[in-house]
Subunit: 130 residues, 2 copies
DNA sequence: TTCAATAGTTCCGAAGATATGAACTATTGA
DNA sequence: TCAATAGTTCATATCTTCGGAACTATTGAA
């Protein structure tokens, strides 16, 4: 197998990072990898979205994250070990990734809150109509 | 003319912001608009890049920034007045835009430094071969 | 009012990017 | 050696983006 391409940290661009994280599937994958101490393999993410993501698509998403410089992928036996390169990126662009992560967290919290509120409204309406 | 669409601030997404700013022309436009007190019209940006950007393309870029929630565009006489919505976004996603702006600044500084160093090397080589 | 100038938008075809099923490669373990 | 597992690559259908040409809105001058 061809060795996978990883850019040198000085070739990593802000635009590349923003683009890689501008896809909901990729930002979810990245959040998982960056948030967990241990490394992750691709198959962990087949059900990351509402509908399952095909593995060829998943492979392309990992490639995009890799080529943006966000993750490092190394073969470990039969599967891939994916780790975040956030320390390197923090040295080059301090504060960028934490700010994005925080914003993504706020957004999912806000979304969860909206879903809960909508469930409450629905339940109230049902109770009223009983 | 149809009134231009601007999303409500609660419909603005992190992914949308990242995507809008992941294009070098758009991030340059946004940096200019956010960095200046006064409003900007589109024609200011025809020469924002190395090669001039056609106005139809520029119009699409403004649309992308608008629909991501980053700017507000209003007609002021014959031209458009573009202003940043960064205050609204700061209330929803605190710290996100400043972090991105800082990273983009670091990157252009780094690039300028690399260009200067390369010019110095070139000059040194010329002097040596004189 | 009419016309020209200015500033942008919209339309549309070409070129480029993305998603995904199918086929392929690499590794492990039986 | 073979099957199972994990992921990549390929081919192609689909979606996006770019940019020239045509169109729209506004202003100011004749």
């Amino acid at each position: 197998m061809k060795p996978l391409f990883h850019p040198a940290i000085e070739d990593v661009t802000v635009e590349g990072i923003l683009y890689a994280l501008s896809d909901p599937v990729r930002s979810a994958i990245y959040a998982d990898i960056a948030g967990s101490q241990c490394s992750m393999n691709c198959s962990n993410f087949l059900n990351i979205s509402e509908k399952p993501v095909p593995k060829s698509t998943l492979s392309q998403h990992f490639k995009a994250l890799r080529e943006a410089g966000l993750i490092r992928s190394e073969r470990r036996g039969v599967e891939m070990q994916n780790t975040s390169r956030c320390d390197e990126i923090a040295a080059r662009f301090p504060g960028l990734l934490p700010a994005i992560r925080q914003a993504l967290n706020l957004q999912t919290e806000g979304h969860a809150r909206a879903v809960r509120a909508s469930r409450r409204r629905l339940a109230a309406r049902k109770a009223k109509n009983r």
